[in-house]
């Protein structure tokens, strides 16, 4: 075999280039501390890294959401706790009123109830990060205010609706306690309207509702079909003497043509019909959002969460005391019921807070796992890379040394 000069040079250059290129690669890995710096370094690992990066980003968002949700629900719990203390104070005053030693002037009691009322109203309007804790889905506006002209607390607008955040790939968690759940008297309409009825044919239902003093009224409701998937509701509030207090017709109650679910009332998509008769201290809402239109009708029925708006009940008690009248048994019962209602809602809010805490813990563990996986895919094994670097460096030095010894030599050196 002939070994010409270029043969040695070519072999030397190729080996040198190979060694230097692998040396450069290890050096780059060590300076970036990553073994995959571009997709072509390892396409499969790159796909995994991108996926794991996205996963970590999502986890960070979930953690941010959980922290925010937890802060808000904890703020609500705090307000509910204070409210509960104020209600305890109201209950204490009512108990004192029933004792034998108390007589005649109830002004002190009225002032005390008034103080508690102010506090509860203030707490009902409490904020977290510029949002009203009990404002429902529309929590940018103050939910309750005192209407001096009519001497009552008015609910500004729709204060229902859940606020939800995504706290994992599949779980959306509610993180608010809507004011409607606590303070409003809500008559939830249930059952299905019959889709087979002819236009103009009506379905009737009736329920009991109450004013702020606990007096009972009859609410007659008539749903008349006006078009396919469209109805009108005519309601009549009748007092115990059989007099109509308020009658009204609500039109354009629309349902989805495919699912039969409630769709809207005119522009309103909340499904809430507010019934407000200030003269009779009547203030409640009919919730038709769960009503459906199906060809398998279920009997219409209603559920009332509480008899009256607690603010107006307290106003009524306070005003009665100022007039020297003791609260009625119905009013005391309404206060008791509200107190239990408050406790139930605190418990629900507590369980939301616990769930968020538990999810946060799971997510933290998941974050650790994903970070570990990402590190495995992406990070360089420093010990291995350093040893490889030393080996390659040694090889390079050796190549230089040998080349300096051999390459320049030829027969010419000895002639």
């Amino acid at each position: 075999m002939r070994i010409p000069d270029s043969f040695l040079q070519r072999t030397f250059m190729r080996s040198l280039n190979n060694t230097k290129s692998s040396l450069a690669e290890i050096q780059y890995q060590l300076t970036t501390m990553k073994q995959v710096n571009k997709p072509s370094d390892n396409p499969l690992s790159n796909s995994r890294i991108m996926r794991l990066h996205n996963h970590l980003e999502k986890i960070n968002t979930f953690k941010t959401n959980i922290n925010y949700g937890k802060s808000m629900i904890d703020s609500s719990i705090l307000s509910l706790g204070s409210m509960q203390e104020a209600m305890d104070s109201v209950k204490l005053e009512l108990t004192k009123l029933n004792s034998a030693v108390v007589g005649g002037d109830y002004t002190t009691f009225a002032d005390s109830i008034d103080g508690s009322l102010d506090l509860i109203l203030d707490l009902a309007n409490s904020e977290f990060n510029g949002q009203y804790n009990f404002g429902g889905a529309q929590n940018g506006e103050k939910p309750f205010y005192y209407d001096e002209a009519n001497n009552r607390v008015v609910t500004q607008r729709y204060i229902g609706g859940d606020k939800e955040v995504r706290i994992s790939e599949t779980i959306k968690q509610k993180f608010n306690v809507a004011g409607r759940e606590i303070f409003q008297s809500v008559l939830a309409q249930k059952g299905n309207l019959d889709s087979n009825l002819d236009i103009g044919v009506a379905q009737d239902t009736s329920s009991k509702v109450y004013d702020a003093d606990g007096n009972e009224y009859t609410l007659d409701m008539r749903y008349t079909k006006t078009d396919d998937n469209e109805y009108q509701l005519t309601y009549d509030v009748i007092d115990s003497d059989n007099n109509s207090v308020q009658t009204k017709t609500i039109t354009e109650i629309k349902f989805d043509s495919i699912t039969g679910k409630f769709s809207s009332i005119g522009e309103n998509t909340f499904g809430e019909i507010k019934i407000d008769v200030p003269g009779n201290k009547i203030d409640f809402v009919i919730d038709v959002s769960k009503l459906k239109v199906l060809d398998s009708p279920k009997k219409l029925n209603e559920t009332l969460n509480q008899k009256s708006n607690i603010f107006n009940t307290l106003i009524s008690i306070r005003d009665g005391l100022r007039r020297g009248e003791k609260p009625t048994a119905e009013q005391v019962e309404m206060v008791d019921k509200f107190n239990s209602h408050l406790l139930n809602n605190m418990s629900k809010a507590g369980s939301i807070s616990n769930k968020l805490t538990a999810t946060e813990s799971v997510i933290n563990n998941r974050e650790l796992e994903v970070t570990e996986l990402l590190s495995f895919e992406q990070d360089v094994d420093v010990a291995r890379a350093t040893i490889e670097l030393q080996t390659k460096q040694y090889m390079l030095d050796l190549t230089y040394k040998i080349s300096s010894m051999i390459l320049p030599r030829s027969l010419l050196d000895y002639l």
Binding site: M1, R2, I3, P4, D5, S6, F7, Q9, R10, T11, R14, V36, K38, P39, S40, P43, L44, N46, S47, I49, M50, R51, H53, N54, E57, K58, N60, T61, F62, T64, N65, Y68, G69, N129, G130, Q131, G135, G136, A137, Q138, N139, G140, E141, Y158, G161, K163, E164, V165, R166, E169, K172, F175, E267, T269, F270, Q378, S410, L411, L412, L415
Partner: protein, 452 residues
């Protein structure tokens, strides 16, 4: 045989070894010239003199100067050149495209899309927040900028590829013309039986160069003239040569004869790599990017337009992205001017976040070919990466074969200074011996003259 024959024989030896030394010197001088093929002097016995029944040698001749070359290795080098340079061009260009994606870093589109969907999830928590709304808009802008940067980068690469292809065609034409000239010179030299080794070297180096640019077929005729065709189309011989041009037909490029009569079918060479990139790889990558961006825009808009803004008065039917055209993804100017045009609420309630949650859920939606956008994008990036790996592997393997072939060629044709030094010693000694013979002949002649 006369005494003067001794002078004649000596002279032939002196001349022959002088020529041999010249060839050896040329070999040594070109030891580091890769285009040079080592030459070997072939000595031949001069025609002997016949006297009576005897035959007397009349000296030595240089029969020919042989160019040591292996045609099979040459053909293999040209063949592998085509594959090597095609792979090298594709790998190099695709590496540029790969860098446009900035993966796997936080600046990559994968991460930016994730941030965009996450920003909706975060906005769902507090739909009133101007900061979170601005965050959504900025996340959208980042996607828009990145898509635009990748799109314009690939488009620019495509333009560069077309320009480079034009340059390659110019080089091809120059080489073909040079080959034609060298072919003619070789033909003329062979017809007067002149040594034309340097011309053959020049021809071979031109063929090697040409094979790195385009796929060629070469046949050498008995006059050592190379008949060359490019991609199946005649290019040159000793009499004619053809000029080529790059044909740009819409979104495709190809190599044609300048008169448009014939289209080549390239199998290799850097021009093959460039046409593959221009006609296939780069348009496909652009198309994939456009499809993903279009799907993102349509799906986000479908949901966003159903929502209510938080402006006064509230508006519905607002698109988040207004259009995607020529790689530019435009965000609604109203949203850019006022983040409260971002629709988060499904029913108009200012705290309702259903739209934000729905858009955030698009992250996991099978929006394209029953796969998520992230998966589709990952396929696009992996496709580029795999193609680079494939071409780099080809480049490595053809590079190794080429290295071995060049070593084989060096074994045959390379100059070894050791070997040449030994030749010099040999020829020097022979030259010395011939000179000595002249002196001996001279002494003999002097002896005869002194007798007279």
């Amino acid at each position: 045989m006369s005494l003067s024959n001794l002078f004649s024989i000596s002279r032939s030896s002196l001349f022959a070894h002088q020529k041999a030394l010249a060839v050896t010197s040329a070999n040594i001088a070109n030891a580091n010239n890769p285009a040079y093929t080592r030459q070997v002097v072939m000595f031949g016995t001069a025609t002997p003199n016949h006297r009576e029944s005897f035959s007397f040698g009349s000296g030595v001749n240089v029969d020919k100067v042989l160019r040591v070359r292996n045609q099979v290795t040459d053909a293999q080098i040209r063949l592998n050149n085509q594959s090597y340079f095609s792979a090298e061009k594709q790998a190099g260009t695709l590496r540029q495209v790969e860098s446009l994606f900035s993966e796997p870093t936080e600046l990559g589109l994968s991460n930016l899309m994730s941030q965009f969907f996450n920003s909706w999830d975060e906005l769902a928590v507090d739909p009133h927040s101007t900061d979170l709304r601005t965050n959504v808009v900025q996340a959208g802008q980042k996607i828009s900028e990145k898509v635009s940067s990748i799109h314009s980068g690939i488009t620019q690469t495509k333009t560069d590829v077309a320009n480079e292809a034009k340059n390659v065609v110019r080089q091809v034409n120059t080489i073909v013309e040079q080959l034609h000239t060298v072919n003619k010179q070789i033909y003329e030299a062979s017809s007067i039986k002149s040594f034309n080794n340097d011309l053959l070297d020049k021809r071979d180096i031109l063929l090697d160069e040409l094979s790195s640019l385009v796929s060629i077929n070469v046949s050498i005729d008995d006059k050592n003239v190379a008949n060359v065709s490019i991609g199946g189309i005649f290019a040159t011989d000793g009499l004619h040569h053809v000029e080529f041009a790059l044909d740009q037909d819409g979104d495709r490029i190809s190599l044609m004869t300048k008169d448009g009569a014939a289209k080549t079918r390239l199998q290799g060479g850097s021009l093959k790599g460039l046409t593959e990139l221009y006609n296939k790889d780069l348009p496909q990558q652009l198309k994939d990017l456009e499809t993903i961006t279009q799907a993102l825009m349509e799906n986000v808009n479908d949901i966003h337009s159903k929502g209510h803004t938080l402006t006064d008065p509230q508006v519905t039917g607002v698109n988040f992205f207004t259009k995607f055209d020529k790689g530019v993804l435009e965000i609604n100017q109203d949203i850019l001017d006022d983040p409260f045009f971002v629709a988060v609420s499904s029913d108009g309630a200012d705290g309702n976040n259903k739209i934000a949650l729905e858009i955030a859920a698009l992250r996991n939606g099978k929006l394209l070919d029953n796969r998520t956008l992230a998966e589709n994008y990952s396929d696009l990036v992996s496709g580029v990466a795999n193609k680079i790996n494939l071409q780099e592997q080809k480049q490595d393997s053809y590079g190794l074969v080429l290295h071995q072939l060049h070593q084989q060629k060096a074994e045959y044709s390379g100059v070894s200074t050791d070997e040449e030094m030994i030749h010099i010693l040999e020829y020097q000694k022979s030259y010395d011996a011939a000179a000595k013979l002249v002196r001996v002949a001279d002494e003999l002649l002097q002896t005869i003259i002194s007798l007279v």
